[in-house]
Each structure stands twice: as C-alpha cells, then as structure tokens.
Amino acid sequence: MSRIGVFTCHCGENINGTVDCGKVAESARGVPGVVHSVDYKYMCSDPGQSLIKEAIREHRLTGVVVAACSPRMHEPTFRNAVAEAGLNPYLCEMANLREHCSWVHEKGEATTAKAADLVRVMVEKVKHDQPLQPIRVPVTKRALVLGGGIAGIQAALDIANAGHKVVLVEKSPSIGGHMSQLSETFPTLDCSQCILTPRMVEAARHPNITLYTYAELEKLEGFIGNFKATIRRKARSLDEKLCTGCGLCTTKCPNKKIKDEFNEGLATRGAIYVPFPQAVPNKPVIDKLNCTYYKTGKCKLCEKVCPTGAIRFDQEDELVTLDVGAIVLATGFKLMKTDQFPEYGYGKYKDVVDGMQFERLASASGPTAGAMKRPSDGKAPETVVFVACSGSRDRSKGVPYCSKVCCMYTAKHAMLYKHKMHHGKAYVFYMDIRSSGKDYDEFVRRAIEEDDVSYIRGRVSRIYEEDGQLIVQGADTLQNGRPVEIKADLVVLATAVQAQDGSEALAQKLHVSYDPYHFFAEAHPKLKPVETNTAGIFLAGACQAPRDIPETVAQASGAAAKVAGLFSRDELTREPVVAVVNRLPAPTFSYCVGCFLCQSACPYQAIEQEQIKARDGSVIRTLAKVNAGLCQGCGTCVATCRTKAIDIQGFSNEQIFAEIMTL
C-alpha cells in the first residue's frame, strides 16, 4: 500500500494569489493513498525542502508529489531533496500549479478545483512510479564550436585553455567574423582588428584547437557526451600544406570585378582571393561560381603563377566525422539590407549605406583606407545623416524587437565621422537612446556634447535623391513633430540585426528550439541563458539574440565554462527515461513477438535484436532489446508496439493510464 506525501507550494503569491493552496492541500488529504499533505510558502527554499525530507522519514513515504511550479523548473531540485532523504528520486513527481494554472487563470473556485485535479493526477502517477537508477554514459572530451567569430573564438580558447580538445568550424574562408570588419569599437574607440587579430592567431596556434575554415556542419547524431558530427570541408581548390600564402595568385587573377563580401560590396576582389590581409588561415580560396576556369574551362592563370604548385582544380569537398561531447553554437547574426526599405529607395541610392558598410568606409583597412568618401562619387560627405531603428521596432515592415547595438554604434559612427571631418555636420534620427552599459551613456553624451552630433528625436519618413544629394524627410517630435528636411551627402541606416541565414535549418539539424525570428532559444530566459533545451548544446553570442562584443565574449566564456564542467567528469548520468522490453521467465520469455516495428520507428537505432538460444545453441526466440545508451526516451516504440511488450520508464502505460483514470 503506497504512502504518498503531497506538498503544495504557495510560491509567495504566485500560486496562492489565484489558487487557494490551503484547499488544495486539504482536498489532497482525501485522496486514497495520501498519508500526509501540507502547504508552505516556498517549497523550493531550504526550510521547504527539509519539510519534505522530514515528512519522508516521519511518515515513511513511498512517493512524493510537489505541487508547485513547472517540472522543467524545479524537478531536479525536489528529486535531489527526496534522494537526500533516502527515497528513490524517481518516486517524486511535480504538479504544475503555477505555469499551467495560477498564472494563466483568474482567481476562483474553478482554478482551485483544477489545481486539486492536477495534484490528484500526479498522486495516481506516483503510485505507479518505479524506483529507477540513473544511466551512466561516457563523455567524449572534445568540443565542437560552430562559428569562428569573436563568440566562437572566445569559447574555443576558453575550452582549450581548460585542457580540452576543440574543433572550431567556420563557414567562410577565414575566422574573425563581423568583428574583423569593424573599424573601431564602442565605448573605448579602440581598433577592432588590433584587439581581435591576436585572438585569431592564438586560436589558430593553440595545440588543443583544430581549425576547420570554409567548412559547415553536415549532420549531427547522438546525444550529450556522445555526439557524432559530420563536417563538410568545402574544397578551397588548394593544397593548404603546399600554399605559403604569398598571394601571387590573387594579384594575377584576371577576374577582378567580383563584389568583395568583406568590404560589404564597396570593393571588388578576384576569383581566387584571401578575404582580408589578416585572414586566418592566410590561404586563398577559389570562388567556383565566379572563376573563369570553372565557368569556361579555360584560364588556370593562378596555377601557372603559383611558385609551389598548390592550386588543385580537381579538389572535392571532404566529409569529416568527429566524436564530440559538447557543442557550442556561435553562428552570429546578419544585418538587414538597405533594399528592404521602400521609403528609403529600395536600396537604389548608392549613398544610402548600412552600418556595416559605414564600418568599412571608416576602417583604415577599408576600400577608402579610412578616408571619408561616399560610395557614389568618392566625394567627402559634408553632411551625414544616421538613422537609428531602421527596420528595428517596426512591426509593419521590419522586426518588432530592438536590435540593441544600434544606439551605441550609431553614436560611434557619428563620432568617427566628426573625428575625420571636424567641419562636417552629423545628424542622428532616433526614437530612444538605449545606452545601458558600463561607460555607454557617457559615450553617447560625448558624441552630443563634445563632438556636436545633432540628435533629432523622430523617425525618417522618406529619403530621395535630388541634385546629387539625399533629401531626408524627418520630424522633430521634441518640437511637436515639426517637419525637418536635411540635404545629406551620405545616409547611414542602422539596420536591424537578424538571425544568420540558415539558422532554422541548423537548429533543426541540432534539435535545438528557436524563436519566431530564428534566433536560437535558451533553455531558460534567466537561469539557463547559455544552455539550449538539448543537453550538451550551448549558445554564445548573437545567434541567440542581438548582442554587443562584451556581452558576446562573456556569454562565450559562460558556454565554455559549461562545457568544461561537463568534461570534468569521465561519465555522466542520464535520466533513466528509456524504453525497456519486458522479460518473463521461460517459456514465455517476453510478450515481444519479434515483429520489430519498434526498430523501424526508433529515430536512434537504439533497438537491437536479441536471440534467445537453447542449450544446443539453436535459436528459440528473437526479441527486441533496447540499447539504453542510445535510447533517448521518446516512446515512439511504445506507441508502435502491438503487444505492449515495450514500455518506457517514467512514462509507462500504467502511469499514463492511471493519470487518465483520475480525470
């Protein structure tokens, strides 16, 4: 006869505000099998937990139901508590009175009644709980970092310095990411490449880091501690061992008219190219789509001039499979393009540029060598207008969220411009200035007070070209919306930060969830900001949400710490929520009839065939057998099984049946 204890939590007013917890505890006492039921202000607090522990000893409880928040929140907390009291942790279940009841319903009897129901359901489940032992699985102490921007580099370095192997995969020909494109960085105005390049080199040289540039994740299988990743190394058409990076080929390539991605289309490159001078690795790559040889079968000039004969036109993509124990996602972001703005000319005006393009115009390594020249005619812009919130906080044509970094980089852009052209005029159209961060607001004030940047509070309605100038139509909402029209030589749109292309597909490969804008979703908005809801996969940087460099680096180190923590053990325990095939004494052996429908249904190839042999070695029966290491506990096999021979621990037919019977 089971002896169940029910513990109802008020969660302060969070539950008790709409649910009468006293009543819930009361009604639980009436449920057969319940020998103890109390309510308390904060069950998850120490006194709350000891309340449970003492009750277990005192009342010799065989099962515990904690009626509190979501099991996704505190199940581990309470199962540990129960274990400390000597009860098997899997004999503890939670009834979700907060997220699924008190927070979503109005105060009233119906709500309290529902809460009582939820408790009853769980009591019935606990009655059918079985004591389970966690499963131990080995950990492969090698991490996979996807994305070679500052986030990926930082995470890789921290993991590597913790003494673990790291594979850093970057899809473009060089690591460095967006940060390598920036001119200076806020709020200190130190040169981006000066602080980034050493890290890039360190990452490349680190004995624990293997660098795969121009490569992408093809496929991922397995689970925490035991992932199997397949990486596609795209053909550079080059033997990297022979190439010395002399760059002769890039200078000789006859095809010079290709838009240079690194310079955001403000300069051109050849078909064989190194993305930028400080690239790591400093080895060229042939852009097959634009290479004359690949298109026409003629040319091969680069091959002729290469002193070491490193060019390999026949090179093919290579698939590498790796065993890794943890993964850090650091695939970054993209900026909305200027052609997304009808009222700003659908991108047809050359002198309407986005923030990243302005970075290149301001950068010493950029197409203008840092001199202020506008794209259309190279004229030095006397008047520059910066438009914040371009596409951000725009539910009708852009994205509804705030892109977070624009306020700061717009102030920086205006400053950089004023520092280069003291007599020039800089205007910033803004809605709000969001400069919360160490020395951030001071930085914005400096732009306004010292560099005399004119901030105008209002959105820009239209931009059009007239007599070689851009007419910017805005309004000053601090003057009751008085219309403001500015003739500008250059307009910089602080366009919205968006999820990197292909984020959705990648998330689906990895089975991590993502938000409606395809940013990867953290496991908990506050308490698990670097975890995903897939164990062993962590997040760093702007692939999760718009982030600036300091935040990105901090989060990357956070993710690295999580990985190091995971790797600090040789094996890890997994929830024993796995399928099992029932076994019975001879001659029945099992209900399993060996149809192996389960095998075809299992997404993890976790179901094996087991032969039952007679003494003479002849096979009597062939039964299904679950490999607990591979099984992830989805239960698809259970639902497919005709004879109910296979069941899943923690969500057994018996348990769910019991839950339904209490409805």
Binding site: E343, C389, R393, D394, R395, S396, K397, G398, M431, R457, G458, R459, V460, S461, R462, Q473, G474, A475, D476, T477, N480, G481, R482, P483, V484
Partner: protein, 190 residues
C-alpha cells in the same frame, strides 16, 4: 496643455470610442513622428498627426477636447502616406475621420473647418438628391454655404466651353433608395 491628465472612466473616453469605431489601437503609437514627417500638410496643422494621437492616448477629457477643436484633423487629406509608413500599423486617417465626425457631433469643429465641411455636405447633398455628383449644383451649393461667391468664377466658363460641366444633372433610377441610404447612415439631414 492642461496639467497632468485626469482620465475619465475608460469606457467613455474618446480613446475608447476611437478604438471601438476604427479598430485602431492607439496605444500602439510610440510617438516616433514618422506620420508627421511624411505628412504633406503637417506644416499647415496647428496640431500635427502625432500630437493629436498623443492627446487622445491619455483619456483626459480636456486633452480630448483640444484634439477635437484642432484644425489639424480637418487638414488631413487621407493620402495614407502616414499609415503606409507607420512602423506600428496605426491607420491615422481612420482616426482623423472619426475625430472629424465626433467634433461635429460635439459641436467642437474648428471655425475654419466650416468651408471644408460645407463642401463635403454640398457634395453629399448633391449625391443624395440625384444619386451622382452634379458638379454645377455642387459649386453653386458650396458657394451659398461658404459665401465665397466670387471664388473661381473664372473657372466655370472655361470648364463649360471644354464640355467639362454638364448643365443638367444625371438622375439615377434608384434615387429613393439613395435617400433611404442617407437616412439610415447620416440621419435625416447630413
């Protein structure tokens, strides 16, 4: 402006009425001023579109009155530039339409709205009577209502010789039906 707003009961505020009648969510407006920035007549308005929205957002009767008394609401041409570019999908012209009607109902319409109103009423009277617009009738009627007798006197003859002003109205058959339509919507007299 009056001092701090003194909201009246939510249900009967102008805000509530606007939202109920137009389906526009006034709280969506975050005062970015983009509507005014693109408005072709903003410079002629005593209160600009974003100011008017601001006033009505609060539910303060005194501020509501300011909005209703403004000339701005009468200058809106419903060119839809604002609503097309509004980042928050606020249909400003719909709000303006409602505020004009409400201003007339509460007898708060701005003095200079007289002519504009006179024109629209003359226009609709003509339609009520014949089913279609009878331009000469409209012009004549408008002149009587607005007392701008001499305005545009040179235009009419030039239009006549170009056959742009038919001297007789087109009468449609369903005139009675039209009258009833006006009754059911505008009430007896617009």
């Amino acid at each position: 402006m009056t001092g701090s707003p003194h909201p009246s009961a939510p249900s009967e505020t102008l805000k509530a009425k606007v939202e109920q009648a137009t389906g526009v969510k006034l709280n969506h407006c975050y005062q970015c001023g983009k509507c005014t920035a693109g408005c072709p007549v903003a410079q002629d308005m005593d209160l600009t579109s974003c100011q008017i929205l601001r006033l009505v957002q609060f539910g303060d009767p005194a501020w509501d009155r300011q909005a209703l008394q403004s000339e701005g609401i009468w200058l809106c041409l419903a060119c839809e530039t604002c609503s097309t570019r509004c980042p928050q999908e606020v249909a400003v012209p719909k709000v303006m339409d409602f505020l004009r009607a409400e201003a007339v109902r509460r007898d708060l319409a701005h003095p200079r709205s007289r002519d504009i109103l006179a024109f629209h009423r003359a226009f609709m009277d003509s339609v009520r009577a014949t089913g279609r617009l009878y331009e000469i009738g409209l012009v004549a009627d408008y002149k009587v209502r607005s007392r701008h007798f001499l305005k545009d006197v040179m235009l009419a003859p030039r239009m006549l010789v170009r056959g742009k002003l038919p001297l007789l109205p087109h009468l449609i058959k369903g005139r009675d039906a039209m009258k009833r339509i006006f009754q059911r919507t505008l009430g007896v007299k617009p």
